[in-house]
Symmetry: C2
Subunit: 371 residues, 2 copies
């Protein structure tokens, strides 16, 4: 089961600052470059390590901003230079994944690509591999296939995928059509979903033939498709690539892959799903980060930071220490403390979502130096 | 009423780190050197400014540790060199105040001295002046006189003074004998005290003739008295002072003035009290500090620190900023955040008393570098 999958290429879009993880995540140190699990590796590196057994190191591409090139290459010394696709500015996920599809399709017309966010946490890599292998078999049949995570609780922070009719595909144990996508539910609705068993978490993983993905983009956003093809045509010519990026990339529509590919494909019965029975989290905020690092123990204080000097007395929650300062926490429950050289955040798990507003306020009040 | 009081000398014992205000207060930056009210001045300087109209600048003495000499002189440029009494090590309040009494008594046999802590906060300096003037008149009659603060609430963090029989003293409007001192009460008892109206807060201010104070020390602790007299005898001889301090000071009993002077004097009917109708606080912990700086508004976030860069969203309590870092507080109530270059404290008003335990733990675990 550790054989590489024929025709398979892994694409890692590594964009997104992760504003709700400020001041840990920054414009120049986005979420995917951090070790959020105490593994000793960045999330990007963990993603690479998870995918390399499936695709081989030569067939992993990363789509990232020009500013992150050096950091990405230092995290991933095995990545071939030609597989680092640099954006001149963020244009959202449809452009990023579409660019990879267009380039890879020119290089390998039969390629089946899977896109996997650079900043999610997955535990249970063997089970993950099973799911990807199944999804690739479904994708070979011409479907766009997603991996839906079997819910471990009635989460309100994720979107859900409603499974529809069963798909019989050789080599895939448990595939279905996607009936529809549903937005983040309220708690009662989430409980119904979990009880119903036909709902899975939408983890934003898409596996499909590159030609199928491009056809879906073409059908739903011809302008984006045309730009991507033009870029791909110039891409592997060293002299033409730079000018093409500078000219075309900023004109591409800024839109999420969900709207250009996943939802339209679902409506047309072209989107499939295989369940993923592994632990997954998008670590969207510090509440998730605390939960992820406390091992589920409610009264624990999770500590992130190699050189953390923490003294706690009846404290629970999470402390992220990126300085050498002594941090003392007394009697604070579900607390979130993030200590960096130029910014400090103190909040609670309950208010973790509001960190994004602080980031907005910092921009508005001219304190962007700490973003 | 702004005339200096004849024969009056103010003594400011400036010792005590203020462990419960760690990491703001440190061994090398004790509480009295901090601005805890946003006045722009240290507590020591505020104390000086309050006393100078009563005694004149030439008649204020400060008793402090050798390590704090430069800091004290820089805070109090008007202090005559001969009025800075330096301890070679801390020996508690009886030795500190007794030393001042012994020295001043040799210099001015008729001196009436008042001792006032360097690190308390007082608001209402005119009312304070009235109380001191009254206390001096009582002291002239041979009493040791304290100023008891009229309680503004049933505080459990202070000791109380029970007033006894009225004293008729010319020039003092409302003097009584002290019936007894009582330790910090529980809340129910504190409520009774406040309702009773004969209880005042013990603010540790003592005004008496130096000869009376020394006689009380002699009666209750002859060893301390002998040492102090020997020191005083050598003090104003530049060549003899240093050796005398080195030899005698470390042998003096370490004991609080309360046990050597106030309580025995009260038992013998020699302790008087005049009420002080001004705002007073010993700022014993961060809960007091928060209250002091919030103007009594429960949901306010008090901010201390000249260059504080604070962004708060639904936060209350206090933040002390001694760095240039941006501090963001979201949804934390009654929080205490103290941000210094090498140490950070996060707690709540409710747990403010436990800061002392942290300081103990830091000592025990070899992290004394941040004390």
């Amino acid at each position: 089961m550790v054989d590489e999958i024929p025709d398979f290429y892994a694409v890692i879009p590594a964009g997104g600052v992760g504003s709700r993880l400020w001041p840990l995540s920054r414009a120049d140190a986005p979420k995917f470059l951090h070790d959020l699990t105490g593994s000793g590796h960045s999330l990007l590196r963990d993603t690479w390590d998870r995918l390399a057994p499936l695709s081989g190191e030569d067939r992993i591409a990363v789509v990232t901003g020009r500013a992150h090139r050096a950091a990405v290459e230092s995290q991933l010394p095995g990545i071939p230079d030609r597989n680092v696709f640099l954006e001149s500015e963020p244009r959202d996920s449809a452009a990023a994944i579409g660019l990879a599809a267009a380039i890879l399709h020119r290089r390998h017309p039969d390629v089946i690509m899977g896109s996997f966010a650079a900043d999610h946490v997955i535990r249970g890599s063997r089970v993950f591999e099973f799911a990807v292998r199944d999804a690739v078999e479904v994708a070979r049949e011409g479907y766009i296939c997603t991996i839906g995570i079997t819910p471990s609780e009635p989460a309100v922070g994720f979107g859900y995928i409603k499974r529809g009719g069963e798909l019989i595909v050789d080599g895939a144990r448990d595939a279905s059509l996607v009936e529809r996508f549903v937005e983040k539910p309220d708690l009662d609705t989430a409980r119904e979903y979990v009880a119903d068993r036909s709902y899975l978490w939408n983890a934003g993983m898409f596996i499909s033939r590159a030609d199928v993905l491009l056809a879906e983009i073409e059908a739903n956003n011809p302008q984006l498709h045309a730009g991507l093809l033009e870029l791909a045509e110039a891409w592997d010519d060293r002299e033409r690539r730079g000018p093409a990026v500078d000219r075309i990339w900023p004109t591409l529509p800024k839109i999420a892959i969900d709207y250009v590919v996943a939802e339209p494909a679902a409506e047309k019965g072209r989107l499939a799903v295989v369940p993923g029975h592994f632990d997954w989290d998008d670590v969207g905020d510090f509440a998730s980060l605390a939960k992820l690092n406390s091992g589920g123990r409610k009264n624990d204080l999770a500590i992130l930071g190699e050189n953390a000097r923490i003294l706690s007395d009846a404290a629970s929650g999470i402390v992220v220490s990126h300085t050498s300062r002594v941090i003392s926490l007394i009697g604070v429950k579900d607390i979130v403390v993030v200590d960096t050289a130029d910014a400090l955040l103190v909040t609670t798990s309950e208010h973790a979502q509001r960190v994004k507003h602080v980031v907005d306020a910092l921009k508005l009040t001219g304190r962007g130096d700490v973003l």
